[in-house]
C-alpha cells in the first residue's frame, strides 16, 4: 500500500471518529429539571404559570402533534431512554398507554392521588384508573358535551332560542330527525340539523356499557348498533349535511350558519367555534341533547423511572388542584376543569359573550355530573377506527344491511387481532 493510500484511509476514519465523538457529547446540569412532552399548546400557558410559581425549577417542554407524539412516546418508553418525566396523553390513546408497565402508580403514597380524584367528576375518575383500579394519570380537563346551536336558526325554525325550550324540543333523536327533515325542506336544502353522523356517534358511544373487548372476546354493545341505525335513518331523511368532521366544509358551516346543532364537548367553544367562526359571536347557545355525553380529554402521567418524581408530581398537582392557577386558567382561557369544586365556585360568575351571555360553567357543571362513564379496553382506539370505517360503508351503501356491516366488521377485527375471539 502506498503512502497516499494509507493517508486516505486514515483521513476517512479520522473524519468518522470526529463526527461520532463531536456529536455524542451531551451536557448535564445539576439544576432541578423537569422534562415534559405534550401534544397540545394548552401546556404552554400552564408551564409559564408553573415556572412563575416555582422559579427554581427549569422546565423543558417538547411539543409534537398528536399522532407523532404517541409514536415518539412509545419508542422512548420501550427502550427507557430519554423518557420525559411527565407526558400528556390524549383520551383516545389513554386506555392503551395507561396499561404500559412504565407508568408511576399514583394511588400509593407519597402521591395518594385518590384525594385529588375526590374533587373530580365520576367519569374522569374512572378513566384515570387502569384495569386493576390503580391511578395511572390525572386528567386536568373537564369534557362534558353539549348541543351547541345557532340561536338565529333556532328562532327561525323552532320559534325559540331559549336553551331550556330548545332542550325540550330535542330531547330525543326522533324529535331531531323530524326537525331536520322539516328544516331541509323549508330552507331548500341549505340548512341541516346535524353536520354528520359523528354527532350521533359521539353521543351514543359515550353511553356504552361495555368496551369492545372483554376477556379477549369481542363485544358489540347494542348502543353502538343502534347508533349506526340512527345514522342511516338520519342520512336517508337528509338530517345530516355530511360535512366531514374537522374538514374545511365543516368549519366553514359554523360561520355560514348551515347547520343547526353540533354535538361537541366543552373545549370546542374556544378551540372550534370561536376559532372558526369569530364573526358569529353572540349567535350561539348551548343546551342538553337526547343524552349526556363527553368528548376527548387530556391526562398527565409520570414515568416510573423518572429521577425527578418530586418535581413531576408538583407539576401534576399544580395542574389539577392549584386554586389560584386553575381559577386564572378557567377565566382567561375559558377552560372548563376536571376539578369540579373550582368549577362550582366559578359557575355563578362566568358567562360567555360568544354564547350570548349564557352561564356556561354552570351548564357544563350540570352536564359533567350527568356524564356517563364509558369503559375502554386497550383495543378500543383501534377497533373504533375499524367500526367507523364500516359504518361509513354502511351509510354510503357499500354494505347494504346492518347484518352485512357487522359480519364484515367481525371479519376485519379477526384479521387484525387474531388473539381476539370474534364470535
Amino acid at each position: 500500500m502506498t503512502k497516499s493510500n494509507l493517508l486516505f484511509v486514515f483521513l476517512v476514519w479520522l473524519m468518522l471518529i470526529v463526527v461520532l465523538v463531536g456529536c455524542s457529547s451531551s451536557s448535564a446540569e445539576d439544576k432541578k429539571e423537569l422534562r415534559i412532552w405534550t401534544f397540545t399548546d394548552e401546556a404552554k400557558y400552564a408551564v409559564e404559570k408553573f415556572q412563575e410559581a416555582n422559579p427554581d425549577i427549569k422546565v423543558d417542554v417538547l411539543f409534537i402533534n398528536n399522532d407523532n407524539h404517541v409514536k415518539k412516546l412509545m419508542s422512548v418508553l420501550q427502550v427507557e431512554k430519554n423518557v420525559p418525566d411527565v407526558f400528556f396523553v390524549e383520551k383516545a390513546y389513554w386506555p392503551q398507554i395507561r396499561e404500559i408497565p412504565r407508568l408511576e402508580d399514583l394511588s400509593q403514597s407519597p402521591y395518594n392521588a385518590e384525594e385529588i380524584l375526590d374533587q373530580q367528576y365520576q367519569y374522569i375518575q374512572d378513566d384515570e384508573k387502569d384495569e386493576e383500579g390503580i391511578i395511572r394519570g390525572l386528567g386536568y380537563q373537564g369534557t362534558p358535551g353539549a348541543f351547541y346551536y345557532r340561536r338565529d336558526l333556532a328562532k327561525e325554525y323552532l320559534g325559540t332560542d331559549d336553551p331550556e325550550e330548545v332542550s325540550k324540543l330535542i330531547s330525543n333523536w326522533d324529535k331531531i330527525m323530524d326537525i331536520g327533515e322539516r328544516v331541509v325542506e323549508e330552507s331548500n336544502g341549505e340548512v341541516h340539523a346535524l353536520a354528520n353522523w359523528s354527532d350521533i356517534g359521539s353521543v351514543e358511544s359515550s353511553n356504552i356499557k361495555e368496551p369492545w373487548v372483554v376477556d379477549k372476546k369481542l363485544v358489540i354493545d347494542p348502543v353502538r348498533v343502534e347508533a349506526a341505525e340512527l345514522a342511516k335513518e338520519a342520512r336517508e331523511r337528509k338530517v345530516l349535511a355530511n360535512y366531514e368532521s374537522w374538514g374545511p366544509a365543516w368549519t366553514a358551516s359554523m360561520q355560514q350558519g348551515t347547520v343547526m346543532f353540533y354535538a361537541m364537548p366543552t373545549w370546542a367553544l374556544p378551540h372550534v367555534f370561536e376559532n372558526n367562526a369569530p364573526e358569529t359571536a353572540g349567535k350561539w347557545g348551548v343546551t342538553h341533547g337526547p343524552k349526556a355525553f363527553t368528548g376527548g380529554g387530556t391526562f398527565l402521567a409520570m414515568y416510573s423511572g423518572s429521577e425527578n418524581k418530586e418535581v413531576a408530581w408538583e407539576f401534576m398537582k399544580f395542574y389539577t388542584t392549584d386554586r389560584d392557577f386553575l381559577t386564572e386558567l378557567a377565566k382567561n382561557e375559558q377552560y372548563f376543569l376536571s376539578n369540579k369544586e373550582i368549577n362550582i365556585d366559578l359557575a355563578p360568575e362566568l358567562t360567555s359573550d360568544f354564547l350570548n351571555g349564557q352561564k356556561y360553567f354552570a351548564f357544563f357543571n350540570e352536564a359533567g355530573e350527568e356524564a356517563p362513564s364509558s369503559p375502554q379496553s386497550t383495543y378500543d382506539n383501534d377497533i373504533n377506527g375499524l367500526w367507523d370505517e364500516k359504518v361509513n360503508d354502511f351509510l354510503n351503501g357499500r354494505l347494504e344491511t346492518i347484518e352485512d356491516m357487522i359480519a364484515s366488521f367481525k371479519k376485519d377485527v379477526g384479521h387484525h387481532f387474531p388473539e381476539i375471539q370474534v364470535d
Partner: protein, 289 residues
C-alpha cells in the same frame, strides 16, 4: 468515423432551416406541462397569504393580505430559521457523505474484479428492497446502543451507506468510463486512490450532480427519522417543524401553508439559480458532443 466537415455541414443545415410547425406544437406542449407543474407551488404560496376563513370558504387564486399576520403567528411558537440551519447542516453533510462514499463504492464494484464482487453488489441492491419503515425499530435501537440519539450524527452518518447511490453511480461508470482511462493512469504511476480522486471523480460529475440533487432533496424532506431520533426542539429540521405547525395551529391552514411554502422556497430558489449549472452540467456533454 464521421468527418469533421460532415458534422459541420449538419450544423449549417440546422441553422438555415427556420421554424417548423411541429416545433411550435412541441413548444406549446412543453409550456402547458410546465404550467401544470408550477400551479400547485403557486397555490401553496398564495394560500400562505390568506386567513383560514378565506381558505375554507372559497377557491383562491390571488395573493391575500394575511402574510404578515400568518408569519408573526408562526414565529411566536416556531423558530423556522433555526430549522433552516439544522436542515442545511443535516442535508449538506448527508449529501457529501452519500456522494463520496457512494462513488467510491460504485467504483470499487465497477472496476475491480475481486472475489465476491457480484454477490456483494447484489446484496447492496437487495437492501434497497427492504421497506425503510420497518428498520425504524432497529435504527432506534442501534442509535441508542451507540449513544447517538438526539445528535445530528444519527441522521448524517447512515447517509454514507446509500445503496441507491451505489447502484446509480455504478450504472453510470459502466456506461461511460472505459477501463483504458484507469490503465493509462496506472501506467503513469498514479496510486489507485489518487486515480479515483483525481481522475475518476471529475469524470463522474454529471452523475454526481444529478445524484446530489436527489440526495439533498431526499434528506431535506426526510421527516420520519429526525422525528424519531431527535428530542430537542433546537435540533429539529424543517419538516418536523412544519409538522409541529400542524399541532400548534390545528385547523389554521393559512399558517400551515405559509410554513410549507417557506420550507420549500429555499430549495426552489437554490434550484432555480443553479439549475442551469446542476442540470446543465448534465447537458454540457450534449453541447460539446
Amino acid at each position: 468515423m464521421i468527418s469533421e466537415t460532415k458534422v459541420e455541414a449538419i450544423h449549417d443545415k440546422r441553422k438555415s432551416k427556420r421554424i417548423k410547425p411541429s416545433h411550435i406544437i412541441i413548444h406549446i406542449l412543453l409550456i402547458l406541462l410546465a404550467i401544470v407543474c408550477i400551479v400547485p407551488f403557486y397555490i401553496m404560496i398564495v394560500y400562505g397569504t390568506h386567513t383560514n376563513a378565506d381558505i375554507a370558504s372559497k377557491f383562491i387564486f390571488f395573493p391575500g393580505e394575511a402574510l404578515i399576520d400568518n408569519y408573526q403567528n408562526m414565529t411566536e411558537n416556531i423558530n423556522i430559521w433555526r430549522g433552516f440551519l439544522n436542515s442545511f447542516i443535516i442535508a449538506g453533510c448527508s449529501t457529501a457523505l452519500t456522494l463520496y462514499f457512494g462513488a467510491l463504492n460504485a467504483y470499487g464494484f465497477a472496476k475491480y474484479k475481486f472475489r465476491g464482487n457480484k454477490v456483494l453488489f447484489w446484496f447492496v441492491l437487495a437492501t434497497m428492497m427492504v421497506p425503510q419503515q420497518l428498520g425504524l425499530v432497529g435504527t432506534f435501537r442501534i442509535m441508542y446502543i451507540l449513544n447517538l440519539l438526539d445528535t445530528y450524527a444519527a441522521l448524517i452518518l447512515p447517509a454514507a451507506a446509500n445503496a441507491f447511490a451505489v447502484f446509480f453511480v455504478k450504472q453510470f461508470i459502466d456506461g461511460t468510463i472505459p477501463d483504458e482511462v484507469i490503465e493509462s493512469a496506472r501506467m503513469d504511476g498514479a496510486s489507485e486512490f489518487k486515480t479515483f480522486n483525481r481522475i475518476i471523480l471529475p469524470m463522474l460529475t454529471p452523475a454526481l450532480a444529478a445524484l446530489g440533487i436527489f440526495a439533498f432533496i431526499g434528506s431535506w424532506n426526510n421527516f420520519i427519522s429526525p422525528l424519531v431520533l431527535l428530542f430537542s426542539n433546537e435540533k429539529y429540521p424543517l419538516p418536523v417543524l412544519v409538522q409541529m405547525l400542524q399541532g400548534y395551529y390545528g385547523s389554521n391552514y393559512g399558517v400551515q401553508y405559509l410554513g410549507v411554502a417557506l420550507s420549500v422556497l429555499p430549495i426552489i430558489i437554490v434550484f432555480t439559480i443553479f439549475s442551469k449549472r446542476i442540470i446543465g452540467s448534465v447537458a454540457i456533454g450534449a453541447v460539446k458532443g
